[in-house]
Symmetry: C2
Subunit: 149 residues, 2 copies
DNA sequence: TATTGTTATACTCTATAACTATA
DNA sequence: TATAGTTATAGAGTATAACAATA
């Protein structure tokens, strides 16, 4: 009647622990985003573009953890909303280069202070050193696998 | 043209770092699960039940990070597949107590060695101490918020 | 009156394959 | 022949509200 001994306890299972931690962090952020009518996924796209400058879609998909078909539809909607602009790459015309627009940056900026407050609160609870350590470990984990960026 | 200064770099952004790390960990596990025709979500339900013994649906939803309406439909399917059994709680007849069945445990057991191999490989890359530290930090993060279990 | 779980509904994302065009 | 992106399609999960049964 006991749990299968080959498995770690779910709170010591990395996939579940990552999910629970993410849900904890995202809960207040989701509430914030719902007020703008923007999805979590579109928010990630904006964040990646805001930071990484113009990117082709494959790079966006990889960095924002999205599939290319999902991204295609999202970008079409976001272009219609004026949040991003797309242009064919002159050097390689298979590529589409996506740029965040000023309204896109404004959308991000409008949430900056609120988002910062949420994450600062977490930082205070965990402690700045331990948060930095957590980010290091997550980064290390992600880099340890092939295919990750 | 630079990124909004109020935001952390996305690789130092906790929500995105958690997502990327999770995708890294889940990629090989998803491949494993797809061979059984079981979804990631149903797998979480089985894992939680296998570990936590009979649970009511609200507890399952919280521990597996699912909404109650999603869980209701999933459990109906899983009951039809014989993976779980449901019964009304005698003491509080609003509650439904869900139990994993032997076929459910067998489903889990059939993936134990493969799942273990995947996670052991990650543990070797990161180092056992750093993995333990990561799990500690994730747990701490999750516990720091109200509403988390 | 609050809580557990269900149903209904609309929406979004996931996932795969097939397709276009460029290289 | 391979790659970037699109389209098509099926399916599943998300999210909200409204509801039933029970406490």
């Amino acid at each position: 009647m006991s749990a299968s001994p080959a498995f770690r306890r779910t709170d010591r299972s990395l996939p579940i622990a990552l999910l629970r931690a993410r849900e904890t962090v995202m809960a207040p952020l989701r509430e914030m985003l719902s007020q703008s009518g923007i999805s979590e996924q579109k928010w990630r796209v904006l964040r990646v573009l805001d930071e990484g400058g113009p990117l082709d879609q494959k790079a966006i998909a990889r960095q924002a953890c999205l599939l290319l078909p999902s991204l295609t539809r999202m970008l079409q909607a976001m272009e219609a909303e004026g949040l991003v602009a797309r242009a064919t790459d002159a050097d390689d015309r298979r590529r589409t280069v996506v740029t965040i627009t000023e309204p896109g940056r404004a959308m991000i900026a409008s949430h900056a202070s609120q988002s910062d407050a949420i994450l600062n609160r977490l930082e205070q609870r965990l402690g700045p050193e331990r948060l930095a350590l957590l980010l290091d470990l997550l980064d290390e984990l992600q880099r340890s696998e092939p295919g990750a960026e």
